[in-house]
Symmetry: none
């Protein structure tokens, strides 16, 4: 029996509330063998109190050894098998800027680039223009029309934009045109099947016309594309779990992911404080709250161990504001690890703690990678986290007689 | 490769013996955070000795967060994936009273009820009649005939009976007629597909005739039905593992489950002592012995923490009688947790210990939820327990060259 069918069969009405706090890239590594990780170094009295009150463990985002991007990392936490449901970058970017993606849309992330007189890329980010300049350039690109489909151009930030082709029968198995290095020509789009060849034709037409439109806009005189993607068919959190679900995220990509899972995207401002203020404000209106905290990941990506420690401590300080609301189930998790030592996402299992009245305590008094190894949740697949959340929330009936 | 195909490929002849002692609802919770569970509170020198001699761990009955009924809980322990093999309540009840369920049978559990003059239910259990009275009423119902099928009525206990419709092409996707509350009319049976609509027709005909037959039997003047089910196609333990298998259970439902798995159901009396006496008596006749102990579950369901502790101690005291027989593999497990704190089955992983000469010891000296977290079996899916049993029993060959 399929897990989603099982969930729909067992779920029951309840007024209980679940808070899932995702500290992006939470897991880490010690800088030297035998040392402490970022989380173990940080002073985290509130996370430690969660570990003492609840049950801890380590989540495996996809499979042992598999490092996820933000998409699969979050899908797993929301209970969608990341090997079954795949989300292209283009879709994430489009959802993140609140673009109403439809079923006939192929979305792709664009970068403005600087091209030399020979057409080769000289700067992959076009000198990092301001976002204002990005918007101006996008306005010019909006004059472009392509044959037999609609095209939408949307600014994101600095050198980044989103391109959406809308038309019947467009496929998304199209290569990135971004060669990922300077000094070479942007790549031609090619489709892997008839529907995707149709898309590739539109892409090449658009880029050719964009090169003309941008001819005099140096250093923004070219564009590369990556992550062609259509919207996958994903049942909403409400449809799956019966949870009225709200996302309180600051960054576009995470709002986009939450939107894909059918959550309401609330205006959570741009800080933990504004996220907490919104959480309190809408507390009575939802059953499930997804809170996203980015800075544990970005500092890890920067390889800045002390900054990641500091960001963890900042998050820790906000936790009492959540617990004061008395959620029936409070979970702190991460979508993947981002060890400062590696300056990148990694596959290492991610510390996780569930706090609920029905927790079997495991004797832990601190929250960290080593402690979680001895936790009651053991090591588990991230896609099973929501099953535990639903169980602890009293939202599942019994399976079978 | 399907696990059952693998088992049949690898299994080898042996004279080794396996005892699986299932303490129903064994796992628990502390009543207050940081406290001890029922099992941790109980004085269990014999279980502790098993932990010291063997390898312990925690079984996950179905999936994290999924609370099983007795059916899925036991199927998993017997090595049948509980998400693949589903057993309806009607089947369990019928097997439990030793009814020879055939492939054309649809079974359902019945409750005698009291109906008011308006036909509405006034007592869902008809004043809990004696079992003698139940048998008398069943005799009267046996006069009823339905169109185009056979019908069997069997007494169970007090207000409970089993009804079996036997005929070609009967489906079992029929709603319960028991509305689960008093003050309303019993529900009409409806089938979800043509075969099940045929069954529903027989059901409604039977109930209409029963209402006439019982008209003067107040307070037993109605009946409700729930858990329509056909017998699932399950390979026997003998066919799967090559184990001559015996069940020593006291309660009907567990005999029924064992019968479904093709075990011989022995007359184990009504106590641990009689179970142990029968175990000794038939020791040379079987390879696999399923011993079921109910009271760890029923006391948990009652929310009676001290009683559950006492029942665990009582079970512990019986264990030397099993170990004296020198089984090659001795396993103590549970089909699910039943924390007194929750007064119900739960999803929490269940303490499990395997004792065999080939055990890798894990340093544990006590048997309990927290200790098992550090056990050598880790946390594992219950459906894998029999693989370990077969391996420790020397009954599996090598997989692949």
């Amino acid at each position: 029996m399929n897990t989603h069918d099982l969930i729909r069969e067992l779920r029951e009405e309840s007024t209980s509330k679940i808070v899932l706090l995702v500290a992006d890239g939470l897991g880490g590594l010690p800088m030297t063998p035998g040392g402490r990780t970022e989380l173990e170094t940080a002073r985290t009295p509130n996370l430690d109190a969660c570990a003492a009150a609840g049950t801890s463990g380590l989540s495996i985002p996809v499979l042992p050894g598999i490092t996820p991007g933000s998409g699969p990392g979050h899908l797993g936490l929301f209970g969608y098998d990341p090997l079954e449901f795949r989300i292209g970058r283009g879709i994430l970017e489009a959802l993140g800027i609140n673009f109403a993606v439809g079923p006939n849309d192929v979305c792709v992330r664009g970068n403005f680039t600087t091209l030399g007189s020979d057409g080769k890329i000289t700067d992959r980010r076009a000198g990092r223009p301001t976002t204002e300049r990005c918007i101006e350039i996008v306005e010019k690109l909006r004059t472009i029309q392509v044959t037999g489909a609609e095209v939408f151009v949307e600014p994101v930030k600095e050198h980044r934009f989103v391109l959406v082709f809308r038309g019947e029968g467009l496929g998304d198995v199209v290569n990135d045109t971004d060669p990922q290095v300077a000094g070479v020509l942007p790549l031609l789009a090619q489709g892997a099947d008839p529907a995707s060849r149709k898309t590739a034709g539109l892409v090449n037409e658009f880029i050719a016309k964009a090169n003309v439109v941008l001819a005099d806009e140096f250093p923004i005189n070219g564009a590369t594309l990556r992550g062609f993607a259509k919207k996958p068919a994903i049942i909403s959190m409400q449809g799956l779990y019966g949870l009225r679900s709200a996302a309180l995220a600051v960054y576009p990509m995470y709002k986009g992911l939450a939107r894909l899972a059918g959550m309401d995207i609330l205006d959570a401002g741009d800080s933990l404080n504004s996220q907490m203020a919104m959480l309190k404000k809408v507390w009575n209106e939802y059953d499930f709250f997804f809170l996203h905290y980015k800075y544990t990941d970005s500092t890890g990506e920067d390889g800045n161990f002390p900054a990641k420690v500091q960001m963890i401590e900042k998050l820790d300080a906000a936790i009492p504001q959540i617990r004061e609301l008395n959620p029936d189930v409070f979970i702190v998790a991460g979508d993947h690890s981002t060890p400062s030592k590696m300056k990148s996402h990694s596959w290492h299992p991610v510390p996780t703690v569930i706090v609920a009245d029905t927790c079997r305590t495991d004797g832990l008094t601190e929250f960290g990678e080593s402690a979680c190894l001895r936790g009651g949740l053991g090591q588990f697949e991230a896609k099973h986290l929501m099953l535990l959340a639903m169980a602890h929330a009293g939202r599942f009936g019994k399976y079978g007689a």
